[in-house]
Amino acid sequence: MSFLLFIKFQREKNFSKENYNSLVAGRSETMQLTQDPCLYKILGDPEVLGEEYIKINFWCSDGRVSKSTLAMRGLSDLTFLGVVSKYSKIVGIDQKVFEKYGWTCNLNSSQADPQKIVTPHSNIDCYENKSQVPRK
């Protein structure tokens, strides 16, 4: 009985939504961030499983491409900025790189508005070099 009360007391003292989130969603301290968005990709394919998804592609100027498909149920912030930030966190991209090297991003072939909500089956394409951006 005292064991039961002890656990209950400790839980009430220590468990909160903030603590839970920092534990579950906190960034790894050991993951090395990359400056190369074409280096990694997420190998899972939620499209095959019939889930709602967003495709996110990075086109590097040396011809390399990184293509990933994100399951929407794994994303909490569905704005364009939220999705790109989340993707960067998952694969460990240093987000400063996008500004530093002037990356340009399109959402469904139009220039992306950072606050626009990304809908299911959308395509996000980010280009290292503006000349790579397909003309309409």
Binding site: F15, G74, G92
Partner: protein, 466 residues
Amino acid sequence: MKKIAKVFIFIAILVLGFLLRKKDHVVIPIPGQSMDEYSYSWVGLSLLKVCMPVGMSGIPGYKNRTIKYINVDRYQQVIPSNPLEINYPWMDHPPLLPLLTGGYAYFKNVKNFESVSVQVIRKPMLLLGVISLALVFIYVYQSSGFVAAVFSGIFYATTPLIVLSSRMVQGENALIPLFLLVLIFSHRYSHGGKKVNLYLAGVFAGLSTLVKLSGISSYLFVLIYLFLNTKKPLKTFLSEYLYFLLVASPITLMFFVYGVSFGLENFINIFKSSADRFYGIGPSLLLELFKSQRLTQHKYITEPIIFSAWIIFFSITFKKINSFITKTYYAPVLFMLSYLCTFIFFGSQPYGWYSFPLWPFLCILLGIYFGKIITQTYTFGAFILSILALGGSLTKIIDIGQFQQYSNYWRFTMPVLLIFSVLYLRFPKLVVFHKTITIVVIAVTIAINIYYMLTMTQGYWWNNIS
């Protein structure tokens, strides 16, 4: 042999077992091949950090669920994977193993789930693997003598599948040392030991149920083992088992108190959902156990040492039995039967780790067999068994194309040795040669296994292990 030499050999086997387990333990098996490794540790870490067990579960019935991408060890760049379902309060299994690996992560100042790397959480497993190895040796030494213990110890230290499996954070790897302790103390008690041995067996049986509910097989083992001791009256058996239960069951009950303290409804829901799980092992479990030794659900190696040990298991069960207690190798056989009962009862998916607890007992049986062959009566089955292990191990390091250049050595040597192995039936003095050849073949097999483990790379693991 002098005691100091025995101790030196014992330590040498432990060191060998540790070094093989440690080599590349961070990359093989590939992180993310079993997400249980992370989930167990997340549960322990969250229990210690926020007093709430948080982990992954495939079981429906949890009210609190979050879907998250947690790319720990960058596994999502290697293993095709989708976001993870995180649940709390996680009650899939009792918390003893989570507290071990998650506790180690906690003391290493790991702050969140994404930082729970296999580099940290597999370290305690290396220690558990070496403890299990020591216990295998100790049991065989006390029951069957030093030579048998050396054989069992070396088999358990060097068999590649056992080495690889013991690195993984799986409940079964924590069950193994506890099962072996129950075996050791039950054996001591049944062979004239004091009652404290029975109590200690009870403590470790209780602890095994705090690792996984399949730890209940240790209760079943003690029940059958005491019951089959025909030297004692039935009344004595009942009182002995009652003493055992009085020690073991309060420890087991701690899981239920722990579960209820996080909400009775959640605890009951998880139990109900577990009971309704898909019976993926199917009716061919026994056949699968013999023909392919699995590491995960899809990765398996046909392991000649384990296969040979299964043959010994059967040969023991084919013998006429007068008393279970007097024959030392019946205790491991009984433990295997007890574990198989719980394995068949609980079912679930055919994950490789469910069969891990059988392997130390198989190594014990094989070691006792070779110990008897070398120190007591030789039979030519020993030579056939050693050739089986040698041939099977050779194919791991030389493919059939490469083997062609050595085929003439094999095609002439093996038939001659096979015929030679039965000549002791006409000339008993030849037994010394037969025993020597058997030892040499076993030694070469072990050397091949060590070489295989030392040269295994992550690429080989990924491409060559089916």
